[in-house]
């Protein structure tokens, strides 16, 4: 009988500090595809221009052993400074932003606006027949809002993927 602790899957949000250099994203993505790991979401942007550091946030899932492997594999890439498992290390805030275009007239249009208000989505562009909503929140919240927009004229969605950071005074640099 396989030990359930060894087969149970969990999600992990992993933050990676890397040298901001050509090819780094290809190294990370190549690692995931080459070794058959899941990527549910991946975001990257420079966070310290002076020190040439970028931060990558990866949402993945796997058994505990696979997630340990993913972290160890990331950590041994030469341009990687630091790998933190935000899911494991304690409470963290995870946010995603989406731009959501809804096209329509009449009652649907009003309903979309009312729901946007309830979800605290902002209108960042409007015409007589369309809205672009900007919304920030957990992935679940975005999913729920997008599902509601579908019958109301959902035309297009652009999402950033998850960014995350630990709660409290603890820092990835410490």
């Amino acid at each position: 009988m396989p030990d359930p602790a060894e087969t149970a899957q969990r999600a992990a949000t992993i933050a990676v500090l890397v040298e901001n250099e050509a090819g780094i994203l290809a190294r990370v993505v190549g690692l995931f595809s080459g070794r058959g790991y899941n990527i549910e979401s991946l975001t990257v942007a420079p966070v310290d221009e002076a020190k040439r550091i970028s931060r990558i946030t990866i949402v993945t899932s796997g058994t505990e052993m696979v997630i340990e492997q993913i972290k160890a594999q990331l950590d041994r890439l030469v341009p990687v400074h630091k790998v933190a498992d935000l899911t494991l290390e304690g409470p963290h805030v995870a946010r995603e932003m989406a731009l959501i275009k809804v096209v329509g007239r009449g009652e649907n249009r009003l309903e979309a606006l009312r729901l946007a208000d309830a979800f605290r989505a902002r209108v960042v562009d409007a015409t007589t027949e369309s809205f672009v909503f900007e919304m920030t929140g957990s992935g679940d919240k975005l999913d729920a809002f997008i599902a509601l927009m579908r019958p109301l004229g959902l035309a297009e969605v652009s999402r950033t993927g998850v960014v995350a950071i630990a709660r409290g005074p603890r820092s990835i640099h410490s």
Binding site: P2, E6, V18, E19, A22, G23, A26, R27, G30, G34, M65, E68, Q69, A72, Q73, D75, R76, L77, V78, P79, V80, H81
Partner: protein, 598 residues
């Protein structure tokens, strides 16, 4: 830096990119480069021509350049260096790079590239070398700014040799090689992001020793990491095993890390490992793994691997730990530091060892040994391949020369591992992880270049040797007296064995048809060609081969249908080993799950 230098002085300090590369190589202690020229690297070849500090060895194929660098690196502990041109030069090198990656061999490979302004234009002999080699290397670089050139070369050497060693590619656009820039010394400060842990955690060491002291049936399982760590690690391993009285087995990659003649040596473990080694792994209660990676060729069925043991794993690469096998104590560190710390902690821990239990354990092991799992019968005229290797070993031992063995891949490789004894590290060069046919001859080139006075022998199969046979030309050009000892069974024997055991004896495409006349082939390259067709010829041919002052191909005609045993069929547990033909029924029991494994 003080005042801005006058322009003329500044200019005088500028060098061409090619000169910068060579100066950085010299600074890194490079004595020899294995390479092959082409348009994109002509500036480097020009600079090489105008100096004498670094020797260039011209191979006949870029794959061979990398294997030669591996042979050089594995036999010396230094970084092997390769120089190839862009496009086909770089793509030909890829197999060698992956081989070095899998076996953790430190190599720096310089590849030419089209000039920076042409990159991405499908220029002549352009290939996306950094893209292609990203998963084939430990790390790679494309140099786009000559001011970073020297620093990149220094960094490449640091990355190749530190932590878990591996191959590093530096892609060099031609305009960078021709342009002028400053040379910079290796940096004094540590690397910004890559700082592998070499010193083991004291608490982990203490926990390991606590387990080992209380062990009743311990086993030490040493791997290639002990070789990577340098000869001191092998010395410390031997010291530790002897002071604790424990049995020791090694992987294919670690032969020589522990003296083969030591009574505590159980031999190699794994798929073609010894019965006693595998059963000791299966039955132990505490396992100490130093620098081995629980490879599938070693563990067999993971679900049944050493079920009753507490496992300690020491490895410099955290990604090797808990990858395949979950362990109880993880020690991250360099093997020699780990072993030194274990020895110290063992002495410091007052817990007495259970000597009675250890004696019982050895009695059990001796019973397993008594099965004499490597026995074979050499009778009649047909040479048994095992006998050929055994005689080669015995006769070279009589000679007492420093001997380095390389191999190709297949049955002959396994027989070499089983029947040739190694007392010291760095004398056994084989392609383990990738299993690259064609590795042995170029690796022998590299080893012989590094050790001109050593006896270097490639134990080969007739199929594998043809994969890099062109290196006979390199042997001729540099008068390298490498001996190629071909166990010629007229089959891709390892393939034939699997077909016999797992595919109903349907020998699909595994017969080595249309073989060359190896004697004439040797002679055409200025080497000596010898042939042994019967058991009576064997010793004479071996002696003639060893006495020759030139390269030799000895074509040893061996039993065509001999299988390599013991064998743990893919996916089977350690205690379901097949010991010989009489037992081949055992392989009929291979499950479909086992059949999908390689």
């Amino acid at each position: 830096m003080s005042a801005t230098p006058a322009p003329a002085a500044a200019d005088a300090r500028l060098m061409t990119g090619a000169e910068i590369v060579l100066r950085a190589l010299k600074e890194q202690g490079v004595e020899v480069i294995f390479g092959y020229p082409g348009g994109a690297v002509l500036p480097l070849y020009d600079a090489l021509f105008q100096q004498n500090a670094i020797r260039h060895v011209l191979v006949r194929h870029e794959q061979a350049a990398v294997h030669a660098a591996e042979g050089y690196a594995r036999s010396t502990g230094k970084v092997g260096v390769v120089l190839v041109t862009s496009g086909p030069g770089a793509t030909n090198a890829v197999t060698g790079l992956v081989d070095a990656l899998m076996d953790s061999v430190p190599v720096v490979c310089l590849t030419g590239q089209v000039p920076t302004h042409l990159i991405g234009n499908d220029a002549f002999q352009e290939a996306d070398t950094t893209g292609i080699t990203r998963p084939a290397t430990k790390h790679n670089y494309l140099v786009k700014d000559i001011r970073r050139l020297a620093a990149t070369v220094h960094e490449a050497f640091y990355v190749a040799r530190s932590g878990r060693p591996g191959p590093v590619v530096i892609d060099l656009p031609k305009d960078i090689l021709i342009g002028k820039g400053p040379y910079t010394d290796p940096p004094a400060e540590p690397h910004r992001s890559y700082r592998p842990q070499t010193e083991p955690d004291a608490e982990a060491i203490r926990r390991a020793v606590a387990l080992l002291k209380r062990a009743e049936r311990p086993v030490v399982y040493a791997g290639g990491g002990v070789i990577n760590s340098g000869p001191e690690a092998s010395r410390l391993l031997t010291e530790f095993v002897r002071m604790t009285g424990m049995p020791c087995t090694t992987t294919l990659m670690a032969l020589g890390a522990f003296p083969a003649s030591d009574p505590q040596f159980l031999g190699m473990l794994g798929m073609h490992g010894l019965y006693e080694a595998n059963l000791a792994m299966h039955g132990c209660d505490v396992m100490l793994n130093v620098g081995a990676r629980f490879d599938d060729r070693v563990t067999g069925s993971l679900a049944h691997f050493s079920p009753g043991s507490r496992k300690i794993h020491a490895d410099i690469d955290p990604s090797s730990i808990n990858k395949n096998v979950k362990v109880d104590v993880a020690i991250v560190g360099d093997a020699k530091r780990v072993l030194a710390a274990l020895i110290e902690a063992w002495k410091a821990d007052p817990t007495p060892q259970d000597k009675a239990a250890l004696t019982r354990w050895w009695r059990q092991i001796d019973e397993w040994r008594a099965r004499d799992c490597l026995r074979y019968r050499q009778e009649g005229r047909i040479i048994k391949p095992q006998h050929a290797v055994k005689r080669l070993y015995e006769i070279t031992k009589e000679l007492g020369r420093d001997t380095i063995i390389t191999t190709e891949v297949g049955q002959h490789q396994m027989w070499a591992a089983q029947f040739f004894g190694f007392e010291r590290p760095n004398r056994w060069l084989t392609s383990g992880g990738l299993g690259t046919m064609g590795y042995g001859l170029p690796a022998a080139v590299g080893a012989q270049i590094a050790h001109p006075d050593a006896l270097v022998i490639d134990i080969a199969g007739e199929a594998s040797i043809l994969m890099n046979i062109q290196e006979m030309g390199t042997l001729a050009q540099y008068r390298l007296p490498v001996k190629v000892f071909v166990l010629n069974n007229e089959y891709m024997g390892m393939v034939r064995q699997w077909q016999e055991l797992l595919h109903g004896g349907r020998y699909s495409e595994s017969y080595s048809a249309a073989l060359p006349d190896f004697v004439k082939l040797a002679e055409s390259f200025g080497a000596v060609g010898l042939r042994a067709e019967t058991a009576d010829d064997l010793d004479r041919v071996i002696r003639e081969m060893l006495a020759a002052d030139r390269a030799v191909i000895a074509d040893i005609h061996v039993d065509k249908e001999e299988n390599c045993f013991p064998m743990i069929p893919s996916g089977a547990p350690h205690n379901q080993m097949i010991l010989g033909r009489d037992e081949e029924g055992g392989a009929a029991g291979v499950t479909d799950e086992g059949k999908v494994l390689v």
